[in-house]
């Protein structure tokens, strides 16, 4: 059993982090806690994508390490098995920046909610809304 878990440990980490984030988004009542859960959820998905890009057997980071200028004139043969897959890195790099921008928008909405209801707990906000009939 332990060997079975250890053979794909990063996928198990991804699953555990994803359900932690989902629990925070569904079960917690504070709005900032929900946002923290959303960030954890996003990191879990990014971890999954980065795990896809790993190659075993002597592969290294996707940067050409030789002398690029000396090789300018003639063709260089690059073996694809020597480098990790760059495509998931590209997609996730932009996803991180966009996640921070959307977190900023979410925090702005949260400040507006606090200005109107003077609280951040979900149940109190629902109670105020029911009392005023809005």
């Amino acid at each position: 059993m332990l060997e079975y878990v250890l053979s794909k440990y990063n996928f198990w980490t991804y699953a555990i982090l994803l359900i932690i984030g989902l629990y925070a988004m569904v079960g917690k009542k504070n709005l900032v806690k929900k946002l923290i859960g959303m960030n954890i959820f996003q990191s879990a998905v990014i971890l999954f994508y980065i795990s896809i890009g790993v190659k075993k057997g002597g592969a290294t980071v996707p940067i050409f390490l030789g002398d690029a200028h000396a090789a300018h004139g003639h063709e260089i043969i690059i073996d694809a098995a020597h480098y990790f897959i760059p495509l998931p890195h590209v997609l996730m790099l932009t996803a991180i920046v966009v996640s921070v921008a959307t977190t900023g928008v979410a925090l702005a909405v949260l400040i507006l909610i606090y200005k109107r209801y003077k609280t951040l707990e979900m149940d109190e906000i629902m109670k105020i809304r029911q009392d005023t009939g809005a």
Binding site: V32, K33, V54, L107, T119
Partner: protein
């Protein structure tokens, strides 16, 4: 890629995530989220994604934490759960 080190960092990441959603002080939760981001960054460096790790260290752990702290500073610090 050393798999023992990887497993240790995976455990750290999970512990940080559980702590971040269980702390009642929101400022402490946000700081633990920053520590979570840095452990995640180390994990990605180990997996060979240096560009993604650099982005996470500057964007997720740096500016993201600052934005969260600014928002907690403008609203309430205590949380009920």
């Amino acid at each position: 890629m050393i798999w023992q080190l990887d497993v240790i960092f995976c455990l750290f990441v999970i512990i940080c995530a559980i702590a971040a959603i269980n702390v009642k002080d929101l400022l402490a939760a946000v700081i633990i989220l920053g520590a979570y981001s840095f452990f995640m960054c180390i994990l990605w460096t180990e997996m060979g994604a240096v560009d993604v790790a650099f982005t996470e260290a500057s964007v997720g752990a740096g500016v993201g934490t600052v934005l969260f702290i600014a928002a907690v500073n403008k609203t309430k610090r205590r949380s009920k759960d």
